[in-house]
Amino acid sequence: MIELKNLSKSYNRGQIQAVSDLDLAIKGGEIFGFLGPNGAGKTTTIKMMVGLLKPDAGQVKIKGFDIQKNPLEVKKRIGYVPDQPDVYEKLTGLEYLDFMADAYAVPLEQRLEKMEKLLEKFQMENAVFDLIQSYSHGMRQKIVLIGSLIPDPEVLIIDEPLTGLDPKSSHIFKEMMRSRCEEGKIVFFSTHILEVAEKFCDRVGIINKGRLIALGTLQELQKQAQRKESLESIFLELTAS
């Protein structure tokens, strides 16, 4: 369960209102797409959800815990994959994974089992022993993703996924997200790419200029829109100003 209440954030002493008065509730077992053009406020919202950014006002609750009051309880329960896959260049992939697993207190058994499975799926079984500085952009994304999946979080938050993944990996990724939902977990991701949201999400929230301007399943959104067309036209229509 994710609850955002009246969430607001501005930059440069109020000059840039990145997120204003955002309300959102997401229940278990769904893939939620947070859709919006560049600069809409997606990354800002996500950073507030994972505790990297302090909101000016409002509240973030995950599984009933408030990120401001109970940050550790929230952080334990979420996995976060940022838009830029920046990782420790001078650790090997395995050392990074081990570090993350230590940080999330993942027992050795679960750690090994997950690592074996995920490394094989994303074809990182060999590269995992090399220093991350030798990885390509896509490999970095994979190692960050794997690192966030090892603790098996109840809520997975991904900022702009799939931008650097090869087709095979992105297919596997989608399947994995689907199966997480079937286990009742939440996948929350942001994207500015419509197709991704269209094919892939149970529900979509459209954000523009920091405000949530539409929310619902694809069908609901199509009903809202004047013309019954693809999400693209809805998106364009809603975000046009």
């Binding site: 994972v50 940050p71 420790y88 050392e95 940080a103 060999n126 220093l131």
Partner: protein
């Protein structure tokens, strides 16, 4: 080599190194940063002023004792050797970071400059920093001697030339050694490790060579010493053998005839220039091969079964964080050269001149002069100071840079995270134990129990220092760097922590020496030092635990 190009590069490098343009800009804009920078500069000056004062006193006393003996020149020789050694050891760090880890290198390589021109520009930038570094040590020497013998115009003129030329030869030696090492090791897979070993080897070989040439003849020490004593120039020549240019320097400033002086100055200048030419020739061949390439790794092949099981470990978050810190510190060459390598360079630089019997002083006799208890306290202080510098906690938060978001994201309480960092510092400090043991074997008359006490006390003393420096960096981390070098070189926290830590140690040391002189038993002193250090450590730790959760929550990258 085109001089106009070289000149362009020198100017750019100087501007960047010393931030002239930035400071001028801040000054014109009446920016806070200008006054802040000035304030910190003043604070640093105030911190080292007492030490400098002692140095001046020492020089004056030495000069007074030498007066009339015909050995007045010794002061110049020692000053020159000391300054050259300083240039050499600091050069080991300056040169490698300027030549190989500067952030503008990628751009410079792609521009139409020759290797020797790029390297030359960097070399002169380092040279200028060395002028500043040796100024407080060498200029007083020149002044004291010059005033004592009432040197004429020629003396002062030569003194200026010598001051300008002094760092050239040691810096060339370091530079040539460095580019040779970097180009040889560049293709190797373990090049970082090899480079460290190479640096150490370079130091050891040079010092070993020095040791051999200055060694007193076996069995005939007494006769030899007597001979030296009888002959006014003897002392100078034995010191000068460690570093021949120091003789030329001495002669150029102290010889009786103007002709002799000119000859020696010419010799010194000539060798310096020849060295420069050699460096330029070497640079054209060796500089780029050491700089470019060598990044490839091996991917592919069969997966080795069981490798994962063997390598995966489960650790407590605190230990895991400590290990992450250490791994990154030793794997980023610039961090390694600036911190952990100090563990080798500092003791060697400190003790080797003594071991060589510089200035004809016998090390054992010299040490016998110092109160043994004081020596042990000093040992513990040295331990703490070295560990404090080597573990580099004063840039530990800054060095995380934009990856600090990982620290903010993981569900590990910030207090555990800073604890992990402190433990990394203590683990690194443990590397000093073998140094103390070695020092006890070679130089100091310490029993195994003494060694244990010194190390324990040293570790305890380093707790407040480490916690203090981490606190400084936590309060005002510098995240906005583009390249790891800036994280430490442009980080004012490093300087603040250094001065602060030094003052903390000095304060504790002052109290202890005071008590010792009041006749308090040494065991009490040890105990009190331990308690004092423990208390100070606890206080800083508690402050740290107050600050950390808020900083980890509030910092936004």
């Amino acid at each position: 080599m085109r001089w106009s190009k070289l000149w362009i590069l020198i100017r750019i490098n100087l501007k960047v190194t010393f931030g002239f343009s930035a400071w001028l800009y801040y000054f014109r804009k009446r920016d806070r940063r200008f006054w802040g920078g000035l304030g910190i500069f003043a604070a640093v000056l105030a911190g080292v002023a007492p030490l400098f004062y002692f140095y001046l006193l020492l020089l004056q006393e030495t000069a007074a004792e030498l007066a009339g003996t015909g050995w007045e020149g010794v002061i110049i020789t020692s000053g020159a050797v000391l300054a050259s050694a300083l240039v050499f050891f600091l050069g080991l760090v300056y040169v490698i970071s300027a030549f190989y880890f500067a952030d503008d290198l990628d751009r410079l390589i792609s521009m139409p400059f020759k290797p020797a021109e790029i390297l030359g520009g960097k070399f002169f930038a380092v040279l200028f920093s060395e002028y500043l570094t040796i100024a407080p040590f060498f200029i007083p020497t020149l002044l004291v001697y010059g005033l004592q013998v009432e040197g004429g115009l020629l003396y002062w003129f030569f003194a200026i030339i010598i001051y300008l030329l002094l760092p050239v030869i040691p810096l060339i030696i370091v530079s040539l050694g460095t580019i040779l090492l970097m180009s040889i090791t560049n293709l190797s897979r373990n090049k970082d490790l090899l480079r460290i070993l190479g640096m150490v080897l370079l130091v050891v070989v040079l010092l070993g060579f020095n040791y051999l040439v200055t060694r007193l003849p076996e069995g005939g020490e007494m006769e030899f010493m007597l001979e030296i004593m009888q002959e006014p120039e003897g002392m100078i020549s034995i010191t000068g053998r460690a570093y021949p240019p120091s003789i030329w320097i001495t002669e150029a400033l102290t010889a009786a005839g103007a002709g002799d002086r000119l000859l020696n100055l010419g010799l010194f200048a000539g060798v310096s220039l020849l060295g420069l030419l050699g460096l330029m020739v070497g640079a054209d061949r060796l500089f780029f091969p050491g700089l470019i390439g060598g990044q490839e790794i091996t991917i592919g092949g069969k997966v080795k079964p069981g490798l994962l099981q063997k390598k995966v470990r489960s650790r407590s978050p605190v230990l895991s964080i400590a290990l992450r810190e250490i791994k990154i510190l030793i794997r980023v060459p610039i961090y390694l050269f600036n911190s952990i390598l100090i563990l080798i360079i500092a003791p060697v630089a400190l003790f080797f001149p003594l071991l060589l019997g510089m200035g004809g002083v016998n090390i054992d006799e010299y040490i016998a002069l110092i109160e043994p208890d004081l020596l042990k306290l000093g040992g513990a202080g040295f331990f703490a100071l070295l560990g404090f510098i080597a573990s580099a906690l004063s840039s530990s938060i800054s060095r995380e840079g934009k990856l600090f978001r990982i620290s903010q994201q993981i569900p590990v309480h910030p207090n555990y995270q800073v604890l992990g960092k402190l433990i990394s510092g203590l683990l690194i400090s443990l590397l000093i134990v073998p140094i103390i043991i070695l020092a006890a074997i070679i130089i100091f008359p310490w029993s195994p129990l003494d060694i244990i006490i010194i190390c324990l006390l040293g570790l305890l003393l380093s707790v407040p220092l480490l916690a203090f420096s981490l606190l400084i960096d936590l309060l005002r981390p510098y995240f906005n760097w583009q390249n790891p070098q800036q994280a430490i070189k442009q980080n004012i926290n490093v300087l603040i922590a250094m001065v602060g830590g030094f003052l903390i140690l000095l304060g504790l040391g002052y109290v202890m020496v005071y008590l010792l002189e009041r006749g308090l038993g040494i065991n009490w002193i040890f105990l009190l030092t331990g308690i004092g250090a423990g208390l100070a450590g606890l206080i800083f730790l508690l402050i740290l635990f107050q600050v950390a959760p808020r900083r980890y929550r509030d910092i936004s990258l």
